[in-house]
Symmetry: C2
Subunit: 293 residues, 2 copies
């Protein structure tokens, strides 16, 4: 399968997996952000990891969609007025702008619990694998992963570099926990579903860590150089919020070099470990293109 | 064990189960609300259900604490300015008043994922039981339970009774999903851990549904008749927010009758099903005392 086939399949399943019932508003709100047109990188990586290690991608579909739901959850809560206060996301009004803040908070909460529910109810995999996949989800999307990243991100705002102790390590922490964590979650759970060995899971995790960091640096670069139309959301926001990013720490040109260098590492990783994947190559190329390197 | 023994045990475990690590603020915020002194009704019910059906309460401790964490999560998010906008809870400033709104939103999120993590990592029960207990959690704390109740509660505010279609059914929906759901979650998961039969789980669920509704009506009554000192939170708020409650629908005296009647049902249920439990009797009596019936 190619990236576009995955996107089509994922979009169809995302629509199918969230049925709207009473009270409709909460399900409509969940669907609204989950179904915003997106690149579907994370769910595609989950399916591709499953394929790479010899699994049946049908078995990984609920998990792949669940990763996208966790991603949507983090976007809904990050966009709230008390966090990044963003009015647009993927070119559309953010969740709280459409449904109000109360429903947006609750839709995020609902997605956090709906993701593991989907895996448990809809995956045709063994109980052992289900529990392992759900454990990865709750750990990586919580205070030991995604949320820790968001906390450190917020706490590093509105500070000059010399007010942050070890800004380089702090930035790496944010990139790892805010972004790479969902790349790793997607790849690891896809691999677990396929029955990959611990060694293979370790290798794909290493790849996901690097790809996630490269993706985040590319995102920082785009925030610096793009227009609203290109981003589908407000640009230049990192600078206005005095966020700790690879741009504020290294400058634009060095950040570009870093992306390029880390992506070379990604190529090396998959070559060294004998991973054959058009889709992962496509994703690497996509990041390069976005920042023009 | 008596109620006070359970409370002591639960308080000790709640403290132990949330270790503070980097980034400290999120764990401090989670702990703050979870550890506010409380009646620990829900975790005690979980342990007691486990005991009633012949289980080892040690096996249910992580699950019992996880129920209290979900309860704390719902309090943190319900108290936010965009929801009920409460400044006090259990006599102390609410989470967002101490840690700010952003951290309060994230602490709620973190508790939602930490609860199942705790069950998976710390329970000495079979994989099958773990997955069943986690499934109960994610379903009952999400859009098919607790969150649905909160949504309908919010949507019924600031409306006169004739603006709500079928206010009686709507109120029952709120009571069931906002309150009884966590009573049922606690009792059901305790029973599952003990290895209770489906019939026994059904019976304890029936009891939890009734007890939860009685508890919520009692809470509505207290909001109407108590002072801030007695409640540990602002009173008279339901009326000010024009909430749909048993008081707005039935009036104070009828609401008292309802509590009394439902609690008689609770006694009948445990007697009919041959459930012997001092603790459940203590909880029923506690509700009666609170509203002076």
């Amino acid at each position: 399968m190619k990236m576009n086939d995955y996107i089509e399949l994922i979009d169809k399943k995302l629509e199918e997996f969230i049925p709207v019932q009473y009270p409709d508003e909460i399900f409509e709100s969940m669907k609204y952000t989950v179904l915003l047109p997106g690149k579907r990188l994370r769910p595609a990586m989950c399916l591709e990891a499953c394929r790479i290690f010899g699994g049946n991608i049908e078995h990984a579909l609920p998990t792949a969609c669940a990763v996208e739901m966790i991603h949507a959850q983090s976007l809904i809560h990050d966009d709230l007025p008390c966090m990044d206060n963003d009015d647009f996301r993927r070119g559309k009004p953010t969740n709280h702008k459409v449904f109000g803040e109360a429903i947006a908070v609750l839709a995020g909460d609902a997605l956090l619990t709906f993701a593991p529910q989907l895996i448990i109810e809809k995956s045709e995999i063994s109980i052992e694998k289900k529990l392992r996949v759900v454990e990865e989800f709750v750990k990586m999307s919580g205070a030991y992963g995604l949320i820790a990243g968001q906390v450190v991100d917020i706490k590093s705002e509105k500070k000059s570099l010399n007010e942050i102790s070890d800004p380089e390590k702090t930035l790496e922490y944010i990139q790892t926990n805010k972004t790479a964590v969902l790349f790793k979650l997607a790849l690891r759970t896809g691999a677990i579903i396929a029955g990959a060995s611990d060694k293979q899971i370790g290798e794909i995790t290493e790849f996901g860590q690097n790809l996630g960091v490269a993706f985040q640096i590319a995102d920082d670069i785009l925030d610096e150089i793009s227009t609203f139309e290109e981003m589908g959301k407000s640009s230049g926001k990192d600078k206005n919020a005095q966020k700790l990013t690879s741009i504020s720490l290294y400058g634009l040109e060095n950040a570009k070099c870093k992306v390029s260098c880390i992506l070379e590492n990604c190529y090396d990783t998959i070559e060294n470990y004998g991973i054959k994947s058009e889709v992962l190559n496509e994703i690497i190329l996509g990041i390069k293109k976005r920042v023009g390197i």
